[in-house]
């Protein structure tokens, strides 16, 4: 899942450096496939004027990889997996409220 963040903004990685920070998180609703984890890219440690320490962030273009398993009971044919990407973004002066993006994945289950 390629993602592209507007210039000047960053989001916390899925493992932010402070417990109060909101992590990037991709989750899936119940569907034809069983979620088997998400592979997040290696974050960058960046320093911003508002933070005394470096923050674990993503910015620019990056990619998430969602893994699934096919249960034995899955019905062959086209299907869709829907999910939600939860993120919270800041630039170097302000932070935006946490947001959700609805995501959808078209799959074709083959036996």
């Amino acid at each position: 899942m390629p993602l592209s963040l507007q210039e000047g903004y960053h989001v916390n990685s899925n493992t932010p450096s402070d417990a109060f920070l909101i992590p990037l998180n991709l989750t899936w609703s119940k569907g034809v496939l069983e979620p088997a984890g998400v592979v997040y890219p290696k974050p960058r440690m960046e320093k911003y004027q508002f933070s005394p320490d470096k923050l674990s962030v993503y910015s620019g273009n990056f990619e998430l990889v969602a893994k699934f398993t096919v249960p034995a009971t899955a019905v062959p044919g086209p299907a869709a997996m829907t999910g939600k990407l939860h993120y919270q973004a800041c630039n170097d002066r302000m932070c935006l409220a946490p947001k959700n993006i609805e995501v959808a994945l078209q799959v074709d289950v083959v036996k």
């Binding site: 899942m1 109060f20 920070l21 911003y48 508002f50 993120y87 919270q88 302000m94 409220a97 947001k99």
Partner: protein, 199 residues
Amino acid sequence: MKRKLQYLAIAGIAAYLAACSFYEGDWPAVKEEKDRKKAPEFVLKDSSGEVVKLSDYRGKVVLLNFWATWCGPCEIEIPWFIEFQREYKDRDFAVLGLSLDEDGWKSVRPFVAREKVNYRVMVTTEEVDQLYGGVDSLPTTFVIDRQGRVASSHVGLASKNTYRQEILTLLGSPKNESPLVSSNRLPGSLRADLFRASR
């Protein structure tokens, strides 16, 4: 002698120009009284469960700060506000903090304890956020005059000196001379579709 006077004149002009130069955000700027709109009333509860009404602060200068525990720039400003509360509370001044944390007191209470916040903090509601222009960029801060009117507003990290000068201007301190008056924009919602997710 003539040359000395010329040098003095040049030095004087240079000093004047230096005094006039400033970075945006570093110059105190409260609205003219005729342009100040009434700050919307709210009724919320603080960390002790006590009811807090903005109208209870009529007669005081109030710094109303929308913030959240996940907001890094907010963390820069909070120690300033702690200092202002300590310095000016006996001069009819108060800071009020409104948190946008979605999980409310679960996050806010430990954060406030860690930062040793000395002013009243509340968890805001969607309704109150909308009353103040739809707050979704943090920090967003309003400085409210003794008559309960918004004298200035700031979206994003501002400067400590700016806040201090605005507070002193509204408290009527004689230390303030010629506060710059401007038409600050009211913070609107900063909507940004930051992600383009493609399959």
